[in-house]
Each structure stands twice: as structure tokens, then as C-alpha cells.
Amino acid sequence: VTVLARLALRNLWRNKRRTALTVAASVFAVFLTMVAESLAAGSHKRWIEEVVRRYPGHVEVMARGYRDHRTLDYGFEITPERARGLEGLAGAEGWAPRVESWALAMPDQEGAFGRAAWLLGVDPSRESSVSRLGAAVEGELLDGEGGPEVILGARLARSMRVGAGDTVILLSTDAFGSQAADRFRVSGTLEVGAPEFDSALVLLRLDRIREFLEYGEKVSHVAVLARSADAAEALAAELAGLFEAADYEVLAWPELLPDLAQLIEFDDVQNRLTLGILILVAAFGVLNTVLMSVFERVREFGVLRALGARRRMLFGVVLLEAALLGALGVAVALAAAVPLVLWLEGHPIPLGGSFGEMMQLFDLEPVIVFDLERKNLFGTPLVMLGVAILASLPAALRASRGHPVDAIRTVAT
């Protein structure tokens, strides 16, 4: 084995410039891949965090059927036992019960138009442990004791020409399918930046919406926030143990936010494609180098064979050369990329210009974030090594074949 290694190393040393160029190609490929993957992972996590905390949470628990029908018929009660279970979740940062329905909202004047509104009842103290809805509220939160109160989406409020202190009428259908109608004092408005909230949301306190819709102690769903997006799946599994599958559905964020999940998947595929091509190019560099060195050494291999070296050994020498080339590239790339990305993890790059503005439009913080994931840290180098070895297979085969006598007679070019 040591002979093998010595042979391989000596060969690499023989043409230092060629070796250096080949190594540089793999350094370049691995470095770029690692940085790009960290950038993608960081941005994706950021997107998920932002959107998930805006309202839905990482995981939602709902009664079977609610997902398709979204009506009050599919509510459920949180038994004290389940509440304790939710409290004791290992992977959760917080949980919040919610009641959702639809209504016609109108200002309190004769002949006023009704506007379609999304009724949402929350427990303010619990809600703040899951979503940032409360942070978007301008005016009082829903803790006043001055009768039924609502917080309106800012655009909904503007279109109705009402503001804090005014009264609105809500018409809806209660849990028994009968009319629900009442007056509510507007205690504030809310601006999230997303139209589905700002121009439709009517936020009520949980007990008020239950009273309004005769909903008893029921909820439409429970939102749970995981400690991080990565932990969402584990949290969903934990919740599935608490809410049996026959009656409940536990949905993690990719199912709650299919658009976002698809966007991320699309971005990932695009990234992999580009980076795959990069690695492939580097691999061809390795192939070229190794193949050239094999052609140069036909005589040498012939002599080795004549001295009793086995075909397998020659095959091994060439593969080892390729592996060493790859490893060298990977090592240099790691040495450059890992510290850089780790530093960038702590120092997000602020974005300006039109792209930054676009991100703000989507209510995302305009910064570039990096995150070095384990699968990136170990995966990318392994892929590079594997591809380098695979690429040198033809050269290795070439070296191990052929007859020693023919080989020795070959004039080296």
C-alpha cells in the first residue's frame, strides 16, 4: 500500500503545474458549491421563518375534514389532557388555539355595503408565542373590557372608512348555520403587508368569536411553532402522538404553505443543476489530467508489470492519484469556504437596490443570510471525491490493461 501511495504521489509531483491547475478547478467547484448551497439554505430558512411566524406556525393540528371544508362544522375541543400534552411538547416554542370563519363586515350606517371578511379569533397571550400578528397591530390589543372589540386589517378599515373607536357590524353564520349578527368596537388596525391579511382580516378575542358564533369551547385549529424549520417534521410526529390520526390531521408547513414549499424546491433544483455542471467540469479536469499521465507512463507501467506488479495494483495507483487530486482540491476548498461561510452566518449581507425593495414588498427582511448545513458540509466534498474517482476509471482501466511487452516497446510521447 505504501508503495502504491508513493507511486501515486510521485506521479502527481512529476507535473506540478498540471496538478495545481486540476486542483484549482476542483477547489473552485467545491468552494462555489458550498457557498451557493449555504446561501440557498440560509435564504430558504429565512423565508420559512418569516412566513411561518407571520401567521400559520410550523405545524397546525385540525380535525379531519377541516382542511377541505374550512367550516365551523369541523371544530374540536382541546381537552385539559391535550392542553397538558401541548404544553409539554419537546420541540415546540409555543402553541395557540384559533377559530376561523367568514363574515360580512360593514360600517354601522344604514345602507352601507358589506365586505367579505376573514374572521379570526385568537388568545392574545398564546398567539404572541406563535405568530407576529400582535406586533402588526396599531392601537390597543384585544384586552379591553369595553364590550366586543375587533382589530381590522388596515386596508379593510380604510375601504370601510372606519378607524379605532368606530363601530362595525359583522354578519356571519353561527355554528348551527343560523345568522350571527352583532356590533363591534374597532380597537385598532393591523398591517402585515400581505393583502390576504390587510384587506380581509377581522381579529377578535377567542372568547368573543366563540360567543358570536355559538362555538362553545371549540377551536378550528391549533398552531404550533417549532424551535426551527428543521424541527418541524419532528414536532409534527410528536403532535401525531397526541392527536390520533383517525380524527385529526397534523400538517407541517410544507403542506400549509405549498406555494413556499414549491418555490424552495424549484430553487433547490435550479441550484443543484448549476452546481452539478460545475462539479462535472472539474471532474473532466481530473479525468484529463489522470488520462494524460497514464498515456505518458505506458512504458513505466509495462516495466512495473514485467517486474511482477499486478494489474490490480496499477489500477489502484491511478485511482489513488485521482482521489488525491480530488482530496487536495476539497481540502483547499474547505479551508477557504468553511471559515468564510461561518463568518457570513454571523454577518448577513444587507441588500439594497431593486431586489432588496422586492423582498420588502414580500415583507421579507432585505438581507442575504448564510447557513452551512451538515448535508452541505459533508455532502459536497464527498460528491466531488466520488465524481473524481469515477471520472478516472477509464484511465485506471487503461493503465491496468495491455501486455507488458507491448507496453515496454511503446515509445513515450
Partner: protein, 266 residues
């Protein structure tokens, strides 16, 4: 088309004679299918009807009863309903004039017109629709009847009619079956069909009548039950507690002012 209707009518008459049930119910003049429908409607509604009833809605998850007082002026094509209980809905009113429907919501003291788009929504959470309040005023006007045949139900003999909508009639149903007691001509079952994409008819819901007792000389079913086909476990029962037919109803009843006057109702 007029021709076809006439032919259908003639066929109905022939059918009647053919079935030969007329001898049993005694009138000397043969009754046409149209006349049967008219009588069924008259039995249920009279020219005017004032009614106290309890509607019980049952679903797999809950049951709820609503007490109501209604006035129906069939000749004037208008009606009025006031909800008496439960407390939360007390005072809620519905006023119909022709095909227009308004509701009054006492909690917000507001009269709302129910728009055409909401006509097929459930009424008060029941298996009746808003449209049911507005329509069915004129089975005879909107449908062409044809005799179907006879069958037994709880020991009494029923005679069935098939009603197909007249062309241009503003109706929801593609086909109706009306089953009357042969003896008394009291309605026992209405079956509602809609046209299915394959050209046939699919049963949508069934309204059954029971507890037929005479009121003012007419056989009147005191218990009605609607069962929709597409919602298993759902049904709406209507129990009539008191009914008075053919009384003079004041115009004042069918006004928005009356709709808004929700105090002291009974």
C-alpha cells in the same frame, strides 16, 4: 310545446281512468293531474295560512329547535316569518314579497335584502333553502303534472304525480314527484330531483309529511320532514302546532315597518 303539454295532460287523464282509483274516492267528475296538484297545494297552504311551528334541525353533530310564527298570503304572493326562539334568534324576521326576500336582524337593528346569490343557502341552518321560502308558490303554474301510478305507505294508498318544469318557468328543480293519499288527497311525500349531467335525474332531497289531521275541513299534515340526499345524518323536521287557514291578513303585516317591530312578538 303547448301541444306537448296538452298531450301530456290528456295522457294524465287517460292514466287516471286506467288506474281506476277514481271510483274509490267518489267524485263523479274525473280529477285531472293538475287538479290533484292544486288540491295538494291548497291542502298545505290554503289561500292564506297563519302558523305556529317548531323546526328541529338535526345533524350528526347537533340538534337545534327553532320556534316560529308565520303568515302566508298565497293570493297576495307574500309571506312573513318571525322567529320566537331560541333567545339569540328571537325577533329575527323574514319578509317575502314576490321573489324578493328581506331579513331583519334584531341584534344590529338592520334589515338586509337577501341577494339572489344567497337564495340556495340554507335557511336558519336547516335543510330548507331561502329559495324554499320564495318559491313553491305555484306548483301548478310552474310545472306540468303527469300521473305516475300508485303505491302503499304505512297502510294507506298513495297516488303519485310527476311534475316537469314548464319551459321558461323560473324553477330550481328538474323534476318533482308528488305523492298524495288516494283517499284524502293529503300530501305525503315530495321528492326533488335535479338534472344530472348524463341527462337523467338525480334525487336531491325528500320532503315527507305525516300526522295528517283535518283542519278546517281539509286533511293537513302536521309533521314535515326534509332529508337531503347529499348530507347523510342531516334532516329538518317541521312540527305544526297551530294553523289557521283562509283568514283575512292585514296588509300591514307584510311591510318593512312590521319587519322591524321585533318587540312583544309571540
Amino acid at each position: 310545446m303547448r301541444c306537448a303539454a296538452a298531450r301530456r295532460r290528456a295522457r294524465a287523464l287517460i292514466g287516471l281512468v286506467g288506474v281506476g282509483w277514481l271510483g274509490a274516492s267518489s267524485p263523479e267528475v274525473p280529477i285531472s293531474a293538475e287538479e290533484l296538484v292544486r288540491r295538494a297545494e291548497d291542502a298545505l297552504r290554503g289561500s292564506t295560512a297563519e302558523m305556529r311551528a317548531t323546526m328541529t334541525v338535526t345533524t350528526p353533530r347537533w340538534t337545534r329547535s327553532i320556534e316560529l310564527h308565520s303568515w302566508d298570503d298565497r293570493s297576495g304572493d307574500r309571506s312573513f316569518i318571525r322567529i320566537l326562539s331560541p333567545q339569540k334568534d328571537r325577533g329575527t324576521g323574514f319578509l317575502r314579497q314576490g321573489i324578493h326576500l328581506w331579513t331583519y336582524l334584531p341584534r344590529v337593528e338592520r334589515v338586509m335584502r337577501i341577494p339572489p346569490s344567497m337564495m340556495l343557502q340554507p335557511w336558519m341552518g336547516s335543510d330548507f333553502t331561502n329559495d324554499d321560502l320564495v318559491r313553491e308558490s305555484s306548483l301548478v303554474e310552474d310545472y306540468t303534472p303527469r300521473l305516475l301510478g300508485a303505491r302503499e305507505l304505512d297502510g294507506s294508498r298513495l297516488v303519485g304525480l310527476e311534475l316537469l318544469p314548464r319551459e321558461e318557468a323560473p324553477v330550481v328543480w328538474g323534476r318533482l314527484e308528488v305523492w298524495l293519499e288516494e283517499e284524502s288527497l293529503a300530501p305525503r311525500e315530495f321528492v326533488y330531483f335535479e338534472e344530472s349531467p348524463d341527462g337523467g335525474f338525480g334525487r336531491v332531497r325528500t320532503l315527507r309529511f305525516d300526522e295528517v289531521r283535518p283542519v278546517q275541513g281539509r286533511p293537513f299534515p302536521h309533521f314535515w320532514e326534509m332529508t337531503p340526499e347529499d348530507k347523510p345524518g342531516h334532516r329538518t323536521a317541521f312540527r305544526v302546532e297551530r294553523v289557521l287557514f283562509d283568514a283575512e291578513l292585514e296588509d300591514e303585516l307584510f311591510t318593512q315597518e312590521h319587519l322591524r317591530r321585533a318587540e312583544g312578538i309571540e
